[in-house]
Symmetry: C2
Subunit: 116 residues, 2 copies
């Protein structure tokens, strides 16, 4: 049982694993930093602590972003999308968002280059 | 069988339904417009036509964004994330990205208001 506000929980449309998608965006610059997943409890912790907390699908545990690396995300704002299955977190990212050391998880692999 | 470049297909890490997540972001402003899903063929069509094409999970069909509404997405740039399961599309969105008529799918439901 999660501590998440039932009025919020009622609006979530979770996938088969009980998760919603979460997009983290840097405040101000608008950079899309990373995409991860949350269950109700991860969202509850994120909303109440303003420290981005995800559900790690690979480790099957809660994951406070930056708890190990120091690359924390202070959560400025959280929005839910129109069909309830995706969150947008506006954050202040400390250091690199990506485990590779890149600023964002989208820095390294360009499939289609920008047009002029 | 998709026409997607095998060198790209090899880097995708699809979910159980064969899909990767796709975040659409407005070029210039950085607004996160929406999140949807692509299979290999949807990505192939997106890369080759520069018109954002998704896989509709509800309708189980390809969905050229704006084909009905006129609210198309011209794709400026496509990036794959570090673990291969999420795409970032930098687009020029015509009109509203959200089916509700809102500019983005994240406009209506604020779970945690912005701090000053």
């Amino acid at each position: 049982m999660s501590g998440l506000d039932p009025a919020v929980a009622d609006r979530l449309r979770r996938n088969a694993d009980g998760l919603v998608c979460a997009v983290a965006q840097q405040r101000g610059t608008g950079e899309v930093l990373m995409v991860a997943w949350m269950d109700d409890e991860a969202l509850h912790r994120t909303l109440t602590t303003r420290r981005a907390t995800y559900w790690s699908r690979s480790r099957q545990e809660y994951w406070v972003k930056g708890a190990t690396s120091g690359h924390t995300q202070h959560v400025h704002e959280v929005r839910l999308d129109c069909d309830g299955d995706t969150l947008l977190l506006v954050v202040d990212q400390v250091g690199a968002a990506c485990h590779t050391g890149d600023r964002t998880c989208f820095d390294a692999d360009v499939l289609l280059p920008a047009q002029d």
